[in-house]
Symmetry: D3
Subunit: 241 residues, 6 copies
């Protein structure tokens, strides 16, 4: 089985780090092919970066067909629905996968994100997935994407917000809403004494599981293959369309 | 007052037609500046075209700053939220404007769209706007975007579905979910004997109204101006970021 | 175009003030005909005043037929649905219009009202319009209707609650839920640094817009013209029914 | 214990019939004091009649203070919330009481009403009470209020729609949404083989129960006693306010 | 009329106390037959005790057929839906009955429970009944079931949480979510100055009312009599099945 | 890794068949320990069987501690929440797992069940999981549990209902809501040309994934270990409690 890991931002170091996490958790016979976005933002904080990244995910789907499953490795799941249009293989988003895992481990989860501006995009996704009522709180650390992942202030803010989510909001599970926080899940779990979900880990396993089960993305209705629509002034992946 | 009309697809003829509609309904002292997407799909049917168009709307917002209001002239409202991030002026989507109008004219509206695949994207928007419960039905005509707008089979299917929405689903108002159907609103209203909302008309008036009221897009929270994020391999509008 | 402005309470000074606001924002060729409720409460704080005012709005609709649009100028939108039954012209409520505007300007609005007792009636309307989830908070100032509109304590409480709604509830837009607060929108916007919606302004523009678009209230279903029902002991507007 | 039965319409024969039903089901030591609306519509089909009746219910509450419980005897529950403002005694609506009973007897109820126009008002109430999801369907008979209650076509249409609600909509319980249908509950239950709720019966018992339990309408928040607001040109019940 | 009162836990003293409450509030000609669970937990705090109690309620329904109504006397309503399968008589849960009463007495109720772990089960029920939006807060006292009912610390915590629910959460009505709190309703009402609902009282009256009205549990759909399924290793009530 | 597979009914042949399915899909180093319910129904169709099975699942959790993950192998997920109380290991229900998978493969799924009576229990679960809006329809075949699994009428009805769900209800994915249907997923997928989810397969993989990720059931809040409550007349697993 070969899984394509699509990093929707243009920072290769993040692609490499996420591929390492995915490989570590998947069975040895599963291949992980990591791809970095060929264009777009270096990090994704708000709506514009999400929108540009979503379009780039479409381009990446066209550039890299034929995998057994696709994993979109950004917590906001940019391009998740269009990617599902573009293949018959299962397409997993690490955000949706994390929420599903949290719904099994506890009854009400909190989401920890970076900046306050991200609360809206997370709420958008929870509403779209039907899971807003399961969410006790979305709490920002006030530290941007690139300030997380190397301990220090970022980690200490994460632990602080995790504890407040448990004490004040009644959360029993924590979801880390940023790939850069991934390596810090254990420290947060220890601080808050609740399970902490890293979307990269459960996303890789969900992609594996659906492919292993022989399941596929429906080609009826919303995710049917795209119509034959002409495109203009697009990257090479769209030439000929 | 100057309103920028952004056509998210690359078909200039549609831009021109929509600008004509907007100008006809706005007060004479309001200027309408129409812009066609510099890249992307010629028509928008499904998720991929929406995603590419949303990114192009961001590019257009960067290319054309300084207007008093922005109108995104595609029923799926691609790029609506990111566009709101990128300006302090009000940003109106013709889809959201149409739903708001329908909520005033009746109690339960039906949405008529082109292909069955579009039901999902329309539901997505209604859920995001909180208005799904006001929607009695979403009915596709089975005729693609370019098959509407010139009477014939497209119009006859529209009238047929409008009548069924009223009789079978209890709709009392119709929303036409495709710019190409705009010129046919009157014929459909006559056939179904209910008000029929053309998003282009009410969208232009909503953009005008918000600017006239001196209102502006909030720069707190979800629509705060974007963070300083680096971009790679992007069109010239992003150079220097 | 002639728009009837219906003030559901019996205080003529408020009618005059609201007509001035409406005229100031509408194009010069739009006529505004203001009408004060012929009977009922001098101000509307709770359910009883709303109910009496709703009945009076019906009476006013019967007394003043033939306008191109109707604007119900009380934030609780009393009599909005029955008024829609009674005419083919569009009928706009300043409350619903304010919520629609707020949904375009930001992602989560707060509503500022007068007394705590009004929270329930505002929630009732938001639930009816399907927009409760867009509302971050409803905050009372503790100052009654007539204590607002002339600066002083009323204004200072408004600014205080607006700031708390932004800081504590994550609101990015403010809706002023009382006609008497209208003149204070700018001061509140400056204090809280977010857009502040005055329902009178956006309501007048929404009424104008729908009439300008040639749209009408559906006469199918919920808003069909009333049945031929006999009435007893009613004001003269009902004689003959 | 003395229960005031308020008929919001002006047809005394209906007041008498409903009082008979209430007395038949209540314990012998419970007094029922029936009151007919002093003004307003003879029957309630749509929004305007509801609005006028709601105001009259307020007037009746002022005219008849001091009862141990109040029962508003019209299925649309006109004036229910304002009446709760006006007394410390429990105030029961036969509509809400019927829905509560249906939620105990089955899992999904259908509501049978008279004209299609009434679907909207019933949906409004179900949304306000939070019970819309428990409702499998709202089906009109197409026969107006006064065409029900004496067998014949009205009854035969009722039985027909009840059976369709069970077969086609999966309803397991029927709610009759019109006082005039009350005497036909048994015949409908026999035809459809499911329990049929008559709001008058369960409403009288709910009013009795709450008073018997020593419970009272909260005077905090939404149902606090009205503010001291002046009224003009009102019936005598408002003189002095 | 004979009502079976089923105590789902195995503490006979609680059965006796609850029967006393029921008898005190019901008309003198209504018989109350109290039954204590033949097996299971002595008190019900969390999901496991609920699950075991629900199965025991099924057993009790098989052991005690033929009553005119059944009352499940535990606030979590364990076994409510299966019990409805097992009889044609109305089956009332004291939790659902309390929520229904609270929806009549005020606009937003708070639920006071024992331990924080119980918040989840209460939310589950409110979601199932469709009434979560009517709930302003669920507040635990931190005192277990057996620590309530005899004044002292339990009562003082109850009063404290009731007042906070009113002041901080905007509740206007209180629901006591534990049978052991029943005798303390009056003291809490006095402390918080809002109506306080004791489920045992209103549950007994709801069971009486539905039986008095001649209503029955639907045998179509979800609550149809069970299929003929074989059972193994079960108590004697299941022998022969 | 060792996963306990708990069959909540007492039919050993079903336990064996489900263990075979789980072993076939899991990596070779994962042990599956199947357990059949020590008491209770031979098949689970309605609420009573669910309730009895839920209590038995609690007993099984006490009898079989120490596994790395637990899989409750009945589509109605009986005992899922109490089981989560009773262990720190992840506890997966095949129903919830199937819904999660369906939410990734398509946009709107249909659930196929056996008898009409089961619609209610499935709706209950979807409401509890927050996923009812993702469900296009729940369609019964009219064939009981034991009539499925060996082709013939059961399979032909399944295929028929699957096709209708796609054509009439707009479903793009099918969930088979009965363990006995498992072997027929492929035939149904071929007939309806959409992905068909077998809960046993995806449930086993979800249990594996969560354990592989090192995740655990939260012991804060709703799923905290049970309180020290005494039990009477219980099977040996409860002795000493």
């Amino acid at each position: 089985m070969r899984i394509a890991l699509l990093n929707p931002n243009t920072t290769e170091a993040m692609t490499d780090a996420m591929a390492t996490v995915a490989r570590a958790v998947l069975p040895p016979d599963v291949g992980v092919a990591p791809f970095t976005a060929p264009r777009g933002p270096e990090a994704i904080e708000g709506y514009e970066e999400q929108a540009v990244a979503a379009a780039t995910v479409c381009e990446m789907m066209r550039l890299h067909p034929g995998f057994d499953a696709y994993l979109i490795a950004c917590f906001g799941d940019p391009g998740l629905y269009p990617a599902r249009e573009l293949t018959r293989a299962p397409v997993v988003g690490i955000g949706q996968a994390a929420y599903h895992a949290a719904c099994v481990l506890g009854r009400r989860f909190a989401v920890l994100t970076t900046l306050a501006r991200g609360i809206g995009t997370i709420e958008d996704r929870l509403i779209a997935y039907g899971l807003l009522d399961r969410c006790a709180a979305i709490r920002p650390t006030g530290v941007p994407v690139l300030g997380h992942g190397s301990g220090g202030e970022g980690l200490s803010r994460l632990c602080h917000e995790a504890c407040r989510a448990v004490e004040e909001n009644g959360a029993d599970t924590i979801v880390l809403a940023c790939g850069s926080m991934a390596g810090e899940a254990e420290a947060v779990a220890e601080a808050a004494a609740v399970p902490v979900v890293d979307g990269m880990v459960v996303g890789a396993l969900q992609a594996y599981s659906l492919a292993r089960a022989g399941l596929w993305t429906s080609k009826r209705g919303a995710f049917a293959l795209p119509e034959a629509v002409g495109y203009r002034n697009m990257p090479v992946a769209y030439h000929g369309t």
